[in-house]
């Protein structure tokens, strides 16, 4: 086994299992496991795509007929459907990723013993964390690509930059996957998932997903700007509607840092929780 050589290189203090850096090769097996599990639940996988689409048709098209045009990023007037669609794409990326890394993760971590089984093999805690995040992102990529295609078919992608909406959705998924995974390591029982919903629902509704920031009083608007989903919505909307600025790197870096930090926190906490 080649990893043993690298492992020997550093001495470790007593009382810790050396957190062997996650290896991409090994974390792929965690993704494989989830793919196997979903093979028999493909319809659950499939239906995950419908929810944002239904919202787009209901709120976007239905209520949109009552709203008319409004100023998009950069101030150009856009239809309400075109305004809300990238917001829903961002929100769906958040929802999917949070569901995978909180609820699904918790079941496997606390009740099913899935990770105890994995850790008895060469897989390490870092592999588990990276594998689960990788799975969430893979799933998110499929959904985002399908949703973007639907948007394009409905004529809601105004700019060729719109293709970047898929990687942007993956970035949003990454940010929230880190956050979700880290938060889950503090959860004690399913009752604690009320807090996840308590965070997700307002993020979904108030992050300029459905109406622009200008609807808020100034102070509140600044608060909203700080939330990760607002950053994601802003990024998606600018890409899809073609308002490309250097400042779009801000949400990108923000979300990336969130994901990276979250996964690190989660890995180190999981090492202690799963290997007491």
């Amino acid at each position: 086994m080649t990893e043993s050589l690298a492992d020997l290189a550093s001495a470790v203090p007593r009382g810790r299992i050396l957190p062997v850096g996650p290896s991409r090769r090994r974390s792929v097996h965690v993704i494989e496991r989830n793919a196997l599990a979903y093979r028999r639940m493909w319809y659950v996988f499939l239906t995950g795509f419908f929810e944002p689409l239904l919202y787009l048709l209901s709120i976007g098209v239905g209520v949109g007929a009552l709203v008319g045009r409004l100023p998009g990023p950069g101030g150009r007037l856009v239809t309400y459907e075109a305004f809300v669609a990238p917001g829903l794409l961002a929100a769906a990326a958040m929802n999917g990723s949070v569901f995978d890394t909180t609820f699904n993760f918790f079941v496997k971590y606390k009740y099913a013993g899935t990770y105890d089984a994995m850790l008895a093999t060469p897989l390490g805690v870092g592999d588990v964390a990276h594998g689960e995040v990788g799975w969430a992102l893979l799933r998110g990529t499929v959904y985002a690509a399908a949703f973007l295609l639907t948007m394009a078919a409905l004529g809601l992608v105004a700019s060729p930059w719109g293709v970047l909406a898929v990687p942007a959705a993956v970035l949003i998924g990454y940010g929230f996957a880190g956050l979700g995974l880290a938060a889950t390591t503090w959860m004690r029982s399913f009752v604690d998932f009320d807090f996840v919903n308590l965070a997700l629902v307002p993020l979904f509704l108030f992050s300029a997903t459905f109406f622009p920031l200008s609807r808020y009083p100034n102070g509140v608007a600044w608060g909203v700007r700080l939330t990760p989903l607002y950053q994601g919505v802003n990024l998606e909307r600018s890409l899809v509607l073609g308002d490309i600025r250097w400042t779009l790197l801000v949400p990108a870096v923000y979300l990336g840092a969130l994901g990276w930090g979250g996964v690190r926190v989660a890995s180190s906490r999981l090492a202690r929780l799963l290997q007491p």
Binding site: M1, E3, S4, D7, L8, A11, V12, R14, G15, R16, I17, L18, V20, R25, R26, H29, E32, R33, L36, A37, R40, A112, G113, T114, D116, A117, M118, L119, A120, T121, P122, L123, G124, L274, Q275, P276
Partner: protein
């Protein structure tokens, strides 16, 4: 024997906070043997097994597994171990076959190799015809056998079994024992924990008796019985607690040793039938008298003053 031991603990210690779960134990497991940790619940068996399985950091002392240090070479060691944990953790979202297949993938085995081995192993544990079944509806014994098959997918040199038959009915237990015995014949080194003395006697070439985080005795089942107990035991049951209490002083001196349990009195003796006759002559009227050979249970009782099963 000049080959280095497969597992060796020296003053091995495990602490959870200030609680000491394993207290400076010393043991050695040689290649090819079946080695047991026998002890009651809470003795520290699982804690020890988890350290050997490289999923729980050592708090003190030394541990080497397959000649390597678990703290430094966890993945390398684990790739050569098979682990059957105390609680089955089969993947209930997958079928029997997929459980085998994905476990093999965790070890990085190629799919073609897994396919071959998985079928062989499922046949070995007599689950060959349950490939496509879900795991949940399997009986406790089948789940246990599947866990064993899964642990063998990487052809481990060392198989760790934490209470392999706890919770199984007698028939299922015997089937598991028989399979483990086959593995032993094939040269797989077994390390197992148990709180059943019959399991230890059946399976272990050598064992240590653990109690309250410490090892209190070590040897083969026969050696342990010879060294610490008498050849035979007379078990006396009485109709009431008073009768039992009153009988105790009369029994003193009737054997080498007398132990009073909540439901019976044990008289340790070299000659069971003789002692039983003696008891009858003394005018005692026990409800039942049973003469039997000494077991590891007796060794544990003599060494710790308590029974294995709470």
């Amino acid at each position: 024997m000049c080959a280095p031991p497969l597992v060796q603990g020296r003053a091995l210690t495990k602490r959870f906070g200030t609680y000491i779960a394993v207290d400076q134990i010393d043991f050695k497991v040689e290649r090819g043997e079946a080695f047991g940790f026998l002890g009651p619940n809470g003795a520290g068996k699982t804690s020890t097994m988890r350290m050997i399985g490289c999923v729980s950091p050592v708090s003190g002392g030394e541990l080497s597994v397959l000649g390597m240090d678990p703290a430094l070479q966890g993945p390398a060691i684990r790739s050569r171990l098979g682990v059957v944990p105390q609680e089955d953790n089969l993947d209930t979202e997958l079928t029997v076959w997929d459980n085998m297949a994905i476990y093999g993938r965790y070890f990085g085995l190629p799919r073609s190799v897994i396919r071959e081995r998985a079928q062989e192993l499922l046949d070995f544990v007599q689950l060959g015809d349950r490939r496509q079944d879900r795991v949940d509806p399997l009986s406790g014994g089948m789940k246990r056998r599947l866990t064993i098959a899964r642990a063998l997918v990487n052809q481990p040199e060392l198989l760790l079994l934490d209470e392999p038959t706890t919770g199984l009915d007698p028939q299922a237990r015997h089937l598991v024992w028989e399979r483990l015995y086959q593995l032993k014949l094939q040269g797989v080194t077994l390390v197992l924990t148990t709180h059943y003395m019959d399991e230890a006697e059946q399976l272990c070439d050598r064992l240590v008796i653990m109690d309250r985080a410490r090892i209190v005795a070590e040897g083969s089942p026969r050696e342990l019985i010879q060294l610490h107990s008498t050849r035979e035991v007379v078990e006396l049951r009485f109709a009431t607690a008073e009768e039992r209490r009153d009988a105790l002083p009369l029994l003193n001196g009737s054997g080498e040793r007398v132990e009073m349990l909540p439901d019976r009195i044990l008289v340790y003796t070299g000659d069971g039938d003789g002692t039983a006759e003696l008891v009858a002559r003394d005018g005692l009227r026990p409800a039942s008298v049973l003469v039997r050979r000494s077991t590891l249970e007796d060794v544990f009782l003599i060494l710790t003053g308590r029974t294995l099963e709470d």
